[in-house]
Symmetry: C2
Subunit: 126 residues, 2 copies
DNA sequence: ATATTTATACGAAACTCTTCGTAATTTCGT
DNA sequence: ACGAAATTACGAAGAGTTTCGTATAAATAT
């Protein structure tokens, strides 16, 4: 039946990456404590995921004695790009403009970020 | 084990919605023909999905004699918004600005769209 | 009107994601 | 050094997604 491989992280994987992005390299315990705030999750569930993600190449494990330390194998920006590119195709019929409009109207953007966006727009018009 | 309900469509469901968004109400045959271009899919697979999506309330079915006609139950924009909002939280730590930057640098945007984006930015700075 | 083609309904299998229990191992407090 | 507590490894099951085969019904062509 050969399904197509996903080229982006699943929900739970994202939740784990989110923690690691925010707090830097961390142990399973630390990650689980964070995740559990949003949605209660058993320790071994998180452990299992982080093991699998390491096998998949999504995480890198530092086998420190006793406590293993994990960190993302791929940068936050690169992962975000993967997801945006995929979504552009699957959800926005390839129109980055539409996606931008939706993002802007979905949530307040800080003045600094608005400025950065304008600068990028300027640079693009050449 | 009670998993959390997804509040957005799955991959395949999106593929079907994408076709219906692009071509308007359509039969299973029409949808399947389109989908098969990107990734070969059996007719009954698409049929089954469209039946399930109808049960879920994602599609509306017009039981025309012989050929059933399907259309999305939720507008393209609303579905896109759902996905963007979810992604902002899960992938971009709530920063719409980051998402916008990624979208803009991921793909070329047409001049007209750039203009619309600028207008929206102007309106937001008040 | 009968055979062929096209459509729908249904059920189950294959695969993936998510969850956790249990056992084995290691550390820490006393 | 010994028991309690924390960590890791492993396996399996529940839940959701995706796939398709087969049966049945409806339409079309000849």
């Amino acid at each position: 039946m050969a399904r197509e491989k996903k080229q982006y992280p699943t929900e739970k994987e994202l939740a784990i990456l989110k923690v690691l992005w925010a707090s830097g390299p961390a142990t399973v315990r630390q990650v689980n404590d964070e995740i559990a705030k949003e949605q209660k999750t058993g320790y071994t569930t998180t452990l299992k995921f982080m093991q699998i993600m390491t096998e998949k190449g999504l995480l890198i494990r530092d086998d420190a004695p006793f406590k293993h330390i994990y960190k993302p194998a791929i940068s936050e920006e690169k992962t975000q790009k993967q997801i945006v590119v995929n979504m552009l195709d699957k959800v926005f019929a390839g129109s980055a403009g539409k996606l931008v409009m939706q993002a802007l109207s979905a949530k307040q953007v800080s003045p600094e970020e608005l400025k950065k966006i304008r600068q990028l727009l300027d640079k693009m018009e050449e």
